[in-house]
């Protein structure tokens, strides 16, 4: 069986956008934990408040679980005033390293795309002045 991590071309721009958002969520979560520990719902709120990422709640928790099993984050149950404990996440050294690498790739990629998209930008400006 050949390893073909082939990327199928999405049928519509909308599907492509979904794919793009989903692909960037891992980095978004790691980044939101950069400054300290947060629990699941805080991460979700942080993502919603500081970006226009539309986050499906049922996908963030399994992703956090995976990041934990990969050793990129650790978690800890902490008692709260609300009467139930909450599971707080924290970046590990490996998680920090991963976030740094991903952010670097992201910045390069984004810069390349921006310069590639320069001609289209003029086009867009003409359409909506």
């Amino acid at each position: 069986m050949k390893d073909t991590t082939a990327v199928a071309v999405p049928e519509s721009a909308e599907k492509w956008e979904i794919q793009l958002r989903k692909g960037s969520l891992e980095l978004a979560i790691l980044a939101s934990l950069w400054d300290g520990t947060l629990y699941g719902l805080e991460i979700l709120r942080h993502l919603e408040d500081s970006s226009d990422l539309v986050v499906v709640e049922g996908t963030v928790y399994p992703l956090l679980s995976r990041l934990r099993s990969l050793g990129l984050v650790t978690s800890e149950w902490v008692e709260s005033d609300s009467g139930h404990p909450r599971k707080y996440y924290r970046l590990t050294a490996a998680g920090r390293q991963r976030a740094r690498e991903m952010a670097r790739v992201w910045a390069q990629f984004s810069a390349s795309m921006t310069s590639l998209l320069a001609p289209l930008k003029k086009e867009l400006r003409k359409e909506n002045p």
């Binding site: 069986m1 390893d3 979904i18 692909g23 709640e57 996908t59 399994p62 995976r66 139930h84």
Partner: protein, 214 residues
Amino acid sequence: MTDPETQKTIDTYLTALRKQLRELMEEDATDIVEEIRAHILDKTSSGSSPEKVSATLAALGTPEELASRYRTEELLRRAQLTRSPLVSLRSLLHWATLSFTGIVVFIVSVFGYAVGGALVIFAALKAAFPRATGLWKTVYPDGSWGLSLSFSNGTPPNGQELLGWWVLPIGLFFGVGLLFFTFRFGTWSIRKFWRPRTWPQPDGPTNLSCVGGV
């Protein structure tokens, strides 16, 4: 959480989720259910109207959807770390329900375990019933002949027994060897062909696909 009706809705959801996660290790499943419980409680803490609870549960997906996002990743991760052939085989079975590669790896594994196990059992039978167990060469009246590795309870089959006591070490050696390699084959296949999806997604299009993936 004062309204018993909404409390019941939440409990039903969590019980269903728990049931769907039964393939996972006990503590992992408990951890997940407790985290989701905390999420629901936090989301609905400011006035838990039935609508709010339904909306919260809907955003999480059905218990089946939510569990499946956890399950696949978790099972296959565990299969790579486990030393138990049973855990490995169960994970392979789960993989087989997801992709063609999984089916092939599962069938090869079942075959390997069956033959390996049979050889080991055969060696044990030789120790217990030396006269009735062996590799027999039977010559038929028309001159053709056949080999059979057999255990006959009672009179030994007609023909010549070829290996004698060698059946025992040879059976053990190849049997255990085959079991070992089958196990390694399973974990190797998962490492080689299973690409964990960064985004487990039962909903929406799966565009980042790979052979062996979904």
